[in-house]
């Protein structure tokens, strides 16, 4: 990695907009998004359904091309970054291939990148250990629970050591208890690997618990209305979820979401202050 890349933000969004044309109609999915995400940050995108948070994540990953503005990942265009395999992607569904065993699923990107079998096998062993699934290497995905499948998807996304992890509501389909456990495991992985994470969710507690910053979005057109710093101590765990500051921040995000809906009467001074503190990058 060059010096410029080491100091540049991992993700840099400048005036990003996206308009979807549907016949004669067109929908503005994203409007004038500006955001810098630094190395090692954990940033959540939160907002109501249809606010464009998944679209924004996909423009960072070059799965959707923005209509306006620029997206840079590691000081390259998003497309260059994708072709250089700079990021791993985790979807709401695990998207595992049933015809492959768990370890073969984790090896999929390595196989596509032309790594030899020995290196692949070794890496899959390490990754499955990281997500605590070593005993299930030879199983097929359908033999695992939803939470375990999603851990395989995370292991697969991390297998080729990308700089950036893009996660699109990865725990949205899990029950609350599994989700909380997965949150803690994800944080442990994040701390061990130092990877930069962009995380789409519609769960306020999840966003607060995980993130270093929460970007609150509003719909029609999708834009970032608030950027909230989450100053909870790390490492975070059960105690975090019971701390007063955690609940304060949850309230802050909730109110930010409500003002984002454009109800002026709900605008409270506390959210205004938070928005100012957060400072849009």
């Amino acid at each position: 990695m060059s010096e410029a890349q080491a100091t540049a933000p991992v993700v840099q969004l400048r005036g990003v907009g996206k308009t979807f044309a549907l016949g004669d109609d067109s929908t503005v999915a994203l409007n004038d998004i500006n955001l810098d995400i630094d190395r090692g940050e954990f940033v959540s995108l939160i907002g109501p359904s249809g606010c464009g948070k998944s679209t924004l994540l996909r423009t960072i990953g070059d799965l959707i091309e923005p209509s306006e503005g620029t997206v840079q990942v590691n000081a390259k265009t998003a497309k260059r970054a994708r072709l250089d395999r700079e990021y791993g992607m985790v979807f709401q569904a695990p998207v595992l291939f049933d015809w492959r065993t768990v370890e073969e699923n984790v090896q999929l990107p390595l196989e596509l990148f032309g790594q030899n079998r020995a290196a692949r096998t070794q890496r899959a062993v390490e990754m499955l250990e990281l997500v605590g699934l070593s005993d299930f290497a030879r199983h097929h995905p359908y033999q695992l629970s939803g939470g375990m499948q999603q851990r395989v998807a995370i292991a697969r996304a991390l297998a080729f050591s990308p700089d950036l992890l893009l996660m699109d509501e990865p725990f949205g389909a899990l029950d609350e208890m599994t989700r909380e456990r997965m949150n803690s495991e994800l944080l442990a992985i994040w701390e061990r690997t130092g990877i930069t994470v962009v995380f789409v969710t519609h769960s306020i507690p999840e966003a607060v618990f995980l993130s270093s910053r929460v970007a609150v979005m509003s719909a029609r057109p999708g834009r970032i209305t608030h950027l909230i710093e989450v100053d909870l101590e790390r490492p975070r765990g059960l105690a975090t979820r019971e701390s007063p500051r955690y609940f304060e921040l949850i309230t802050t995000v909730r109110e930010a979401l409500r003002t984002g809906e454009g109800r002026a009467d709900d605008m409270s001074t506390s959210t205004e202050r938070t928005a100012a503190e957060g400072g849009i990058g």
Binding site: L63, Y87, M89, A93, W99, L112, F113, Y142, L166
Partner: protein, 265 residues
């Protein structure tokens, strides 16, 4: 072993029903005194089959010829169906050109095509019967495989894109495995169609040692017990081919819900 025992338990009702139907047929024909040229008893069909196994109508050599033609047609139709499915899935713009033609070809009545095939490929050549079988096999293979190649989860495509995987990689690692269950569905339909095609092709002429010719010859001689025994042999061949495909499917896609034996919830 446990698997075999399970299979027997699972199919026991079907076997019992089958035996009962045959028994009722035999008893009914005898009790009502139905004449042999209207409906022969199962025992008469069995006797006719044994009497004409190697000699007379030579049902066994005829079955080998018909099986050979059906398998040849199955191979030809499957290859063509797969090839077209791959081309159409790989070049989506070709879809609008190729699919209507394929549908039109599929709509040609097989009865009309058989004499043409005999004329084109030689009435005595097995190729003419294979062509009839292949024309029946082509469509279910093509349309099922095409669906499997194209009906891929969008997020799986996104995943492959995030790995900067090219079209060839996507086809190899995603589309082909995804299409296998669909292909086998088509192949199961195709086995029976291949036999029908071969018999229909024979029906319109060719060497006399062939089941389609046995049907024509015995029926015109009013030896319906032999006609029936030829039908039984065709059915048994169809069942065996179907079971063979089933066995290959179990080996090829053990991961698929239809093979794992899970019911959709």
């Amino acid at each position: 072993m446990r698997r075999a025992a399970g299979a027997i338990r699972r199919y026991a009702p079907a076997i019992v029903l089958f035996v009962l139907l045959i028994g009722a047929w035999e008893a009914g024909v005898r009790a009502l005194g139905v004449r042999g040229f209207i409906l022969p008893a199962p025992s008469a069909i069995g006797t006719a089959l044994l009497d004409n196994w190697d000699s007379g109508y030579q049902i066994f050599p005829a079955a080998r010829v018909t099986l050979y033609e059906a398998l040849g047609g199955l191979a030809m139709g499957t290859s063509l169906g797969l090839a077209v499915a791959f081309v159409v899935s790989r070049f989506p713009t070709s879809r609008d050109a190729i699919l209507p033609v394929a549908v039109a070809v599929n709509a040609i009545p097989i009865i009309a095509f058989a004499p043409l095939a005999n004329n084109w490929f030689g009435i005595q050549s097995p190729i003419s019967k294979m062509a009839v079988a292949a024309s029946l096999v082509f469509f279910p293979i093509m349309i099922n495989t095409l669906r499997g190649l194209t009906q891929v989860e969008p997020s799986a495509i996104e995943l492959m894109r995030s790995y900067a995987a090219g079209d060839n990689s996507v086809t190899r690692h995603l589309r082909i495995p995804n299409a296998l269950p669909f292909f086998f569905t088509g192949l199961k339909i195709a086995t029976t169609l291949a036999l029908i095609g071969a018999v229909v092709g024979e029906y319109f002429g060719g060497l006399n040692v062939a089941l389609g010719r046995v049907v024509v010859g015995s029926a015109s001689a009013l030896r319906f017990d032999i006609t029936w025994s030829a039908i039984v042999v065709v059915s048994v061949m169809g069942i065996v081919m179907y079971l063979a495909v089933l066995a290959i499917e179990q080996l090829a896609i053990p991961w698929h819900p239809s093979v794992r034996g899970e019911r959709a919830s």
